[in-house]
Symmetry: C2
């Protein structure tokens, strides 16, 4: 099955857009679209699975708990976030849509 | 861990380049770089796992056994190839590097 990450997007995007593209067993592959969105200031993602996230278009800053510096991602950059490493989206490009590919995969059988 | 799909590449690339970026359990995430490469004419990939492949840069044509038309992929296009669906890379951009992100994931617990 063929698809594209660059489908036309609605003019208004009050919330980030999450689309599951494929899923099997412990794996889920999703597209995320952010339009200047960021995580709420007091919010941390704390996920049960590892996450591999590729920034395809746009720009973003990810904060990781315990690290002083925000990780800045440009197109082609990826980040591997191990299960239960708390993180948040500090900012995304305010002018252009930021498009991500995220792969969530099981931690049960051991990490990278 | 942060990385980029756009690392500098060697001037000569006699074979396609495969780099594992992350792996856990039944999942492997890899970067593939093709420089005009294609599968040999009599070769078919026949994989035990599902494959999600995203074309990040460049252009390519994928043949799928039993389908008359080659699937043409441009940046942002993805293809989900179920386990044991035989396929081959018909062609890749002869002038520019084609960069892929491939996710191999288990078919044992059922497909999408």
């Amino acid at each position: 099955m063929k698809g594209t990450l660059f489908t036309p997007l609605p003019p208004d995007l009050p919330e980030e857009l999450f689309d599951t593209l494929a899923a099997a067993g412990d794996v889920r592959i999703e597209r995320i679209v952010s339009r200047g969105h960021a995580s709420p200031g007091d919010f941390w993602y704390d996920l049960d699975r590892h996450e591999f996230v590729l920034l395809v278009r746009g720009r973003a800053g990810i904060a990781i708990e315990g690290r002083a510096e925000t990780v800045v991602l440009a197109p082609g950059d990826y980040l591997i976030i191990e299960a239960h490493v708390r993180h948040r989206v500090e900012w995304t490009d305010p002018k252009n849509d930021t498009i991500w590919l995220a792969v969530h995969y099981s931690a049960e059988t051991g990490g990278e």
